[in-house]
């Protein structure tokens, strides 16, 4: 033990017997003892504890309290904002998706009050959040559009793009066929860099990328809206697919015919539809476990 702390150890009673014996040999040991006793008889000064406590507690803590609270919750607030930004980002990026299943049609309004009616087995998606800058929908299937007047409106399909400024038109994008019919205003069809403008009562289709030319259409709106299936030089496969979607049934076609079909089929009478197919293609229909089989 160092000499310069020995008395401190003694005062706090930390010396061992040996060290204590050694200390007792000091000439001033008795003085030290008496100092210790005098120290221990000293009284802690009077302290007006209650008075000061009352004074302290009477102080308002409002002003300073708000600042620490703000600081303490700063990180929480930052985290919340980040999460909200994240959610906002996801919503911005994520498109709204609408779908009409087989056997049904589905009407919806776009953010600018444009109307869309989806035909059976069709899907449409668009971005609600960027709609004002970007009036654009992606279509898979068939839909009838009644577009509100405004900026450019685009319908994008895997087969081509249709652009309009406020009009009524029908777009059908099925398998290998893109079909557009204009009912009001004008429509621009963009396909492989080629642009065709349609006027009211005009239509066109691309089948396997082969252009039909501008066709004359008599209807003022698509037949499927009135529960009619209208076909313009479509393959048997395409007609059957349309019937399947519309009636939500399964048809197995064992015939192999390249004869195209034009005409109207009823949308509410499957028996008649099958009859028409049997007569036109010289087929025999058989029903088996909810599946209609067409045989030559």
């Amino acid at each position: 033990m160092k000499e310069d702390t020995r008395l401190a150890k003694w005062l706090s009673g930390e010396l061992n017997t040996e060290e204590l014996e050694e200390l007792k040999k000091l000439p001033n040991y008795i003085t030290l003892l008496r100092i210790k006793e005098n120290l221990d008889s000293l009284q802690s000064p009077y302290f007006n504890e209650e008075g000061i406590l009352t004074e302290v507690l009477s102080q308002p803590k409002t002003i300073t309290k708000t600042i620490p609270l703000y600081r303490r919750y700063w990180f929480t607030a930052a985290a919340v904002i980040l999460i909200m930004l994240g959610i906002g980002f996801v919503f911005t990026v994520q498109d709204t998706h609408e779908e009409a299943f087989s056997g049904q049609t589905f009407a919806l309004n776009l953010p600018d009050a444009s109307e869309v009616i989806l035909n059976s087995g069709s899907a449409l998606s668009y971005n609600k959040w960027s709609w004002d800058n970007n009036r654009k929908v992606e279509l898979n299937g068939e839909a009838y559009f009644k577009v509100a007047k405004g900026e450019k409106f685009s319908v994008i399909t895997s087969l081509g793009t249709v652009q309009v400024l406020g009009t009524q038109f029908n777009v059908k994008a099925r398998a290998n066929r893109l079909e557009v019919t204009c009912f009001e205003g004008s429509v621009k069809v963009i396909k492989d860099g080629k642009e065709v403008v349609l006027k009211p009562s005009q239509g066109l289709y691309y089948e396997d990328d082969v252009y039909s030319g501008v066709l004359r259409m008599e209807k003022t709106d698509p037949a499927w809206l009135h529960d009619e299936l209208i076909f313009n030089k479509e393959s048997l496969g395409a007609v059957i697919a349309e019937i399947e979607r519309h009636y939500n049934i399964s048809i197995e076609n064992k015939a192999n015919s390249s004869q195209l079909f034009s005409g109207t089929l009823p949308g509410d009478d499957i028996e008649t539809v099958i009859k028409i197919l049997e007569l036109n293609y010289h087929l025999k229909a058989e029903k088996k476990d909810n599946v209609i089989i067409l045989k030559p």
Partner: protein, 171 residues
């Protein structure tokens, strides 16, 4: 340093408990330092008011009050003598010392002791009285003064050497 009283220091009951545990030590620490009771009271009160007002923001209340008090104390210098009173009237009355040379009359010894005590350095006096009168352990004093335990022990040792030398030389 984990301080349980940190939780709910804004709560009045909790604060009161904390005050009763620490106010006296702080106040007497300041008194031993300055020898001025009013000043010690003022600084103590000010430190606790700041704690009360900033309760939500204070993580270590004990360190906080000592830091605030020490900052306030920087503006003051010790200019008065520390005057101590005795609990017992005759501290060494029943002690039977072996060597008659060192037996003094109690009153005489006490006067010398008081004089010697008042002549200690501020650092020595503060450490000694915190230990002996306030019952603080050297470790606690070290925390209060923000020095090492070793430094506290040196101060106490120095105080005792000084006291005994002075008392013997006053003779």
């Amino acid at each position: 340093m984990k301080e349980p009283e940190k939780q709910g220091i804004c709560d009045k009951i909790f604060f009161t408990g904390f005050f009763k545990t620490h106010a006296r030590s702080l106040r007497n620490f300041l008194y031993y330092k300055f020898g001025d009771e009013d000043l010690a009271d003022d600084i103590t009160q000010e430190a606790f008011i700041k704690l009360w007002q900033n309760c939500a923001d204070v993580r270590h209340p004990k360190s906080f009050i000592y830091t605030v008090a020490k900052n306030s104390a920087l503006n003051h210098t010790a200019n008065k003598k520390v005057i101590m009173t005795y609990t017992k009237n005759n501290p060494a009355k029943e002690t039977d010392y072996q060597s008659p040379d060192y037996i003094m009359e109690e009153e005489e010894f006490r006067k010398k002791f008081e004089k010697a005590l008042s002549e200690l350095t501020e650092a020595q006096r503060t450490a000694l009285l915190l230990h002996r009168v306030e019952g603080k352990k050297y470790r606690e004093i070290a925390e209060m003064l923000e020095i090492s335990v070793k430094a506290v022990e040196k101060r106490i040792h120095g105080a005792l050497v000084s006291l005994s030398e002075k008392i013997e030389n006053f003779r």
